[in-house]
Amino acid sequence: MSYSDADAHHGDHDHHGPAPGLMRWVTTTNHKDIGTLYLWFSLIMFFIGGGMALIIRAELWAPGIQIVDPMFFNSMTTMHAIVMIFGVVMPAFVGLANWMIPMMLGAPDMALPRLNNWSFWIMPFAFTIMLSTLFMDSGGPAGGWTMYPPLVLQMGDSFAYVIFAIHFMGISSVMGSINIVATIFNMRAPGMTLMQMPMFVWTWLITAFLLIATIPVFAGAVTMLLTDRFFETSFFSAAGGGDPVMYQHIFWFFGHPEVYILILPAFGIISHIIPTFSRKQLFGYDSMVYATASIAFLSFIVWAHHMFTTGMPLAAELFFMFSTMMISVPTGVKVFNWVSTMWRGSMTFETPMLFAIGFVIMFTIGGLSGLMLAITPADIQYHDTYFVVAHFHYVLVPGAIYSLMAACYFWIPKWTGNMYDEKLGRMHFWISTIFVNVLFFPMHFVGLAGMPRRIPDYSLQFADWNAIATIGAFGFGFSQLMFVYIIFKCIKGGEKATGEVWEGARGLEWTVDSPAPYHTFEDSPTITPETITR
């Protein structure tokens, strides 16, 4: 609280405020500006990826091929995944990290501000290249986001653009991660120990290590695809002594930690929101940190559970079944801790809390179907069906995406200085929650009943549930326009937010004014029990 005064004092000098005009955004090295850029980028990509999802669902509205050629349909499923994973969830988390981590640590900015600018500005170019392949003669990538050879090698020359774009997304992610690690290790306010850091910082620290460890592996795998396609190597072709399944091992060594990259920061966000609106400290801080680290470690030794049908030896199948089941233990600990935090709290249900509770419930549903998928003999029936589609959409949409919505509602008063429209926010939550379940829940049924994934047309017994899912998809998709409206409305004005914003808020970010001044914590704050979230 005393720091808002200090910042106001700095404001008087205003010795380096934002540059005027468009160049502010191009040349900025300010963590808040870059955070904002990431968040806007992610929101735009969310609607592009969502549009693709609606094309998919529109084609699946009824049996038969009505709207798009099967090849384009495959392009849509592939691009939808690439956009949503690399263009929406990851940049949004990086944006939140940029905005919040320095403020949570009492740091003036990120450790490497110019690198920060660069790691953002690579993204729009990478995605322009990626999306432009859809307009090329040989079409966009249509072999699935997992890009299994040999299928992906059948793609035309636009394949090179796809690989190039992926490399740049990877470079951006690795640079962003290095920056986050450097910031967390070097920029904490004096006296703040690692075990006093806010959970969002902890989860991002671990996520950043996952990214640094796995993105280069992915880069290696796609480069091997590139040379197989254009330079006559045969890493993945049996005819030249290679093995297509080897690609899957390398890919999923990246791919499985990647799914935790998409969810660990969400765990951090939820661990802030639930204590705030329960007016009670997070239950089991230490165990939350250890659970996050355990999940990260386990994520490196479970990759082949994506490959139970590829013909692995029995010993490997048993190992990956057991290690996968193990993951549910630390994940369970997290859910139990959240519920215990709510227990005997003094709860109110503002929009961020609603999204956080929605997250805990629906992420848990996705987690439980994940436990079902871990049972290898059953997985052989579930694998590559809509059951899997239902599973990972439950953890990613009402999971990761809900955590992002919750984070936006939670922190937007700090960003803009205005409260958002609470009534509309709650409406947004309820409408989204109804439709997201109408969309994804029936997928469990058709998957169990035998509908494979990635197909543009299906047998008639799946027709009714698919029609329902399509209704859910359009409802969910269009209700996100509400979110955009609420954001714009909040930026334009609204009830003025206090520095603390929420009654139960704890942590350094709430000790500065709302909106947060362009530069915060130019003088390090003093760490007191009140400013520590744990």
Partner: protein, 398 residues
């Protein structure tokens, strides 16, 4: 606002539950129990883990909703001050661990049984192609292709105008099903010729990837005669959704009879290969072969899809030198989805489809290729392209 939230929540619950109200009318809901010992065990595991998940979910959400309703500020709740307990952390680490171990043991048992290939009584090699299956009965010397039934194939084209309700088992019917005996432990060997496919029959609980250049195996012992339908479950390109699997499980006597018929049929086909075919015969046969193999990409009028699949109408290959045309069809085009049909089609079908392509779509060249000529064309290509023998030019069926 107190009633507001509850009202919204109830509304949400009702609307979420709405789709499941008329459950009875919505057949496709759960995994099939199947018709093998393994599939029943898998179903048992599936239901066991499902119920465990339901119980865990009910407990966690129960506690949570109790808290949501009781510990609200609007109800006058004051926040308690506890925020850690090593004991409960240990309890909720150990209890799930015990549940997991209890679940892992039966799961491992079933898995070990699934991977036990000993004592199999017959072997069928299954090769995935874009987009069909080849079945080879290794002991009986029977081999044939199985693909989406032509009627279904026509109906599934864009704007086909066909009422799909009139087509029985839409997308789950093939021109020639796999026929197997019941009561025998059948070993399936899986491989692929182009990209990865995956052969899945839910009722047998059998799903295995077909990796090009490698052979995977699994097995089934079917207990009840019947027709069991499945799909390709690994994305394999444009027509991934259109390569169903149909298995006819029949009693042993019926199976033996079927084997005898097949062997007779194959002998008859051998004779067909050596006779002189008329141009009309070849074109009629070729049109069928084209519809089943080429039309997916090159389209009904041979116009192709610009940028993706080249046209045949007026193309340099189909109107030029016949040996180039034969070579393209036999060996495919590297790094494209144009597959090598030399190992997929019989000499008769190859001759017919090449003749058809050279005389249809306004190509009107008037020349023919005879089935018996294909043999020497294969040989000629082999000599001029010794390296290309990996394409199995001599391995045509029939």
């Amino acid at each position: 606002m107190r009633f507001g939230i509850i009202r919204w929540m109830l509304l949400g619950l009702v609307a979420t539950a709405l789709p499941s109200v008329a459950l009875a009318d919505w057949g496709a809901l759960n995994m099939t129990e199947g018709v093998t010992d393994i599939s029943r065990r898998v179903y048992g595991l599936h239901m066991a883990i499902f119920y465990i998940c339901c119980i865990i979910g009910a407990l966690v959400f129960g506690v949570m909703f109790y808290s949501i309703f009781k510990h609200r500020k609007s109800q006058g709740a004051v926040a308690a001050d506890f925020h850690e307990s090593t004991t409960v952390e240990i309890v909720w680490t150990v209890v799930p661990l015990v549940i997991l171990i209890a679940m892992a043991i039966p799961a491992a048992r079933v898995l070990i049984k699934m991977e036990d290939f000993t004592d199999s009584e017959m072997s069928i090699k299954i090769t995935g192609y874009q987009w069909r299956w080849q079945y080879e009965y290794l002991d009986e010397g029977i081999a044939f292709y199985s693909q989406l039934h032509p009627e279904h194939n026509a109906a599934r084209q864009m704007d086909s105008g066909v009422d799909l309700e009139t087509i029985e088992n839409y997308l789950s019917e093939v021109d020639k099903p796999l026929v197997v005996p019941v009561g025998k432990k059948i070993r399936f060997l899986h491989t692929a010729a182009d990209v990865i496919h995956s052969w899945w029959v839910p009722a047998l609980s059998v799903k295995k990837d077909a990796n090009p250049g490698f052979i995977n195996e699994n097995w089934a012992l079917i207990e009840e005669p019947g027709i069991y339908r499945g799909k390709c479950t690994e994305l394999c390109g444009r027509d991934h959704g259109f390569m169903p699997v149909v298995v006819h499980a029949v009693p042993q006597e019926e199976y033996d009879q079927w084997v005898a018929e097949q062997q007779e049929q194959m002998a008859a086909n051998d004779l067909q290969k050596d006779r002189q075919w008329s141009k009309e015969e070849l074109i009629a046969q070729g049109e069928m072969v084209y519809g089943a193999n080429c039309m997916g990409c090159h389209q009904a009028q041979g116009q192709g899809i610009p940028g993706m699949f080249p046209a045949i109408a007026g193309s340099a290959v189909a109107t030029g030198d016949v040996s180039t045309h034969v070579q393209t069809v036999l060996m495919g085009v590297a790094d494209t989805s144009m597959a090598a049909y030399g190992s997929k089609l019989s000499d008769t079908d190859l001759a017919a489809v090449i003749t058809y392509q050279r005389n249809a779509f306004g190509n009107d060249l008037g020349d023919t290729v005879q089935p018996y000529q294909m043999k020497s064309l294969r040989q000629g290509l082999l000599q001029s392209n010794a390296v290309l023998d990996q394409f199995d030019l001599t391995g045509g069926v029939n």
